[in-house]
């Protein structure tokens, strides 16, 4: 599986000279598997992924992809209306996300297109097919086995996903607001080749923002150690952090995880990581 980072910022886009190195777009990651393309979250990074896809099958209306959606806060859905491949007939997308029924999730995404918020007016203005499904504990997407687990995220919850193909595993766990221990995420994370986990805050900054439902880099490291993963990807940096701030978070993770033999890869816009 090849993972590409299109948006790595938390909560709100944070463009500007101080965030150029890591990037200012919000959560969006793509996974190229043997069976096809899987997109995780639809933050503003999705626009750039969509433009990059136009050079291939998606530009000809012959593209197919699965989309995994952790939750529907703005920074995880804002790119949808600017995702060029949905305006090309013939492309096919299936979204798996939170909610007791597909209708619950579809109604939320439809609300995003309401004329008061978007010129698109309705999801039905997409030319591509756009099917919405409720994620279950395990399901298959583009030939990849996906497991999902709900976890606390402030006043709501979000989904973490584990993708497995050819004996390799990639876990996406952003916006994790631990309440009690690891809140049942141990088995989802266990032994993962790559664990992408939000490292939204420095511990001191988290103290004053406890109820927002994000992890500090220390909590992400502790989860990586407890679950004996091989590599941690830092992700979903707070919008107030400059590139230099993120550098210090990455260095702190490296120092904390090196004794445990766990590698660290910082998520940066446009960079790729092969899960091997």
């Amino acid at each position: 599986m090849k993972v590409t980072f299109w948006g790595v910022r938390g909560s709100i886009p944070a463009p500007g000279p101080e965030t150029n190195r890591y990037g200012g777009n919000t959560s969006c990651v793509s996974v190229e598997a043997a069976g096809g393309l899987i997109i995780i979250d639809m933050g503003t990074g999705l626009m750039h992924l969509g433009n990059a896809l136009l050079g291939g099958d998606f530009g000809k209306g012959k593209g197919r992809a699965g989309i995994l959606l952790s939750h529907t806060h703005w920074d995880h859905i804002q790119g949808l209306g600017f995702f060029a491949p949905v305006f090309i007939g013939g492309n096919q997308f299936t979204v798996w996300g939170p909610g007791d029924s597909p209708k619950t999730l579809e109604d939320i995404l439809e609300g995003q297109m309401d004329p008061n918020f978007s010129p698109l007016q309705t999801l039905r203005n997409f030319s591509a097919t756009f099917d919405v499904k409720a994620a279950t504990d395990t399901f298959e997407v583009m030939g990849v086995k996906v497991s999902s687990k709900e976890h606390p995220h402030g006043a709501t919850t979000a989904l973490a996903f584990r993708l497995e193909e050819n004996g390799k595993s990639f876990v996406y766990a952003s916006d994790v607001g631990y309440v009690s221990g690891m809140d049942g995420l141990e088995s989802l994370f266990a032994g993962a080749d790559v664990l992408l986990h939000d490292t939204t805050y420095r511990p001191a900054d988290q103290e004053t923002r406890r109820d927002r439902g994000f992890s500090s880099y220390e909590q992400a490291c502790d989860a990586a150690i407890a679950a004996r993963v091989k590599r941690l990807v830092t992700f979903h940096y707070d919008q107030d952090y400059t590139d230099d701030d993120v550098d210090s978070i990455v260095a702190a993770c490296e120092a904390r995880l090196a004794p445990h033999g766990i590698a660290v890869t910082p998520a940066r816009e446009g960079e790729e990581l092969t899960v091997a």
Binding site: G16, M47, N51, F82, P119
Partner: protein, 79 residues
């Protein structure tokens, strides 16, 4: 006058129903309204800084004596 100039004239031709404008229209309207300074604004999301520089150059070339600036984050205009 701060005016939406999201599209180039070529882009506008295929997206007239999107509800955004173009620099040449902004210049004609500013002239007609006897505006003293025009500010290009609401740049298209995929426009690079270099693209915006070129659009500003073209606008200035056709605006004659009308002063034109292009809005950027942090810009201040004293009235």
């Amino acid at each position: 006058l701060i005016y939406d100039t999201q599209f180039t004239p070529e882009e506008y031709k295929v997206r007239p129903h999107w509800g955004h404008s173009r620099p040449d229209d902004a210049i004609s309207i500013a002239r007609e309204a006897k505006v003293k300074q025009l500010c290009l604004f609401h740049h298209a999301p995929m426009r690079s800084d270099d693209d915006n520089d070129r659009i500003l150059e073209l606008a200035r070339a056709s605006a004659g004596t009308l002063p034109v600036v292009s809005a950027y984050e942090g810009l201040e205009i004293q009235l």
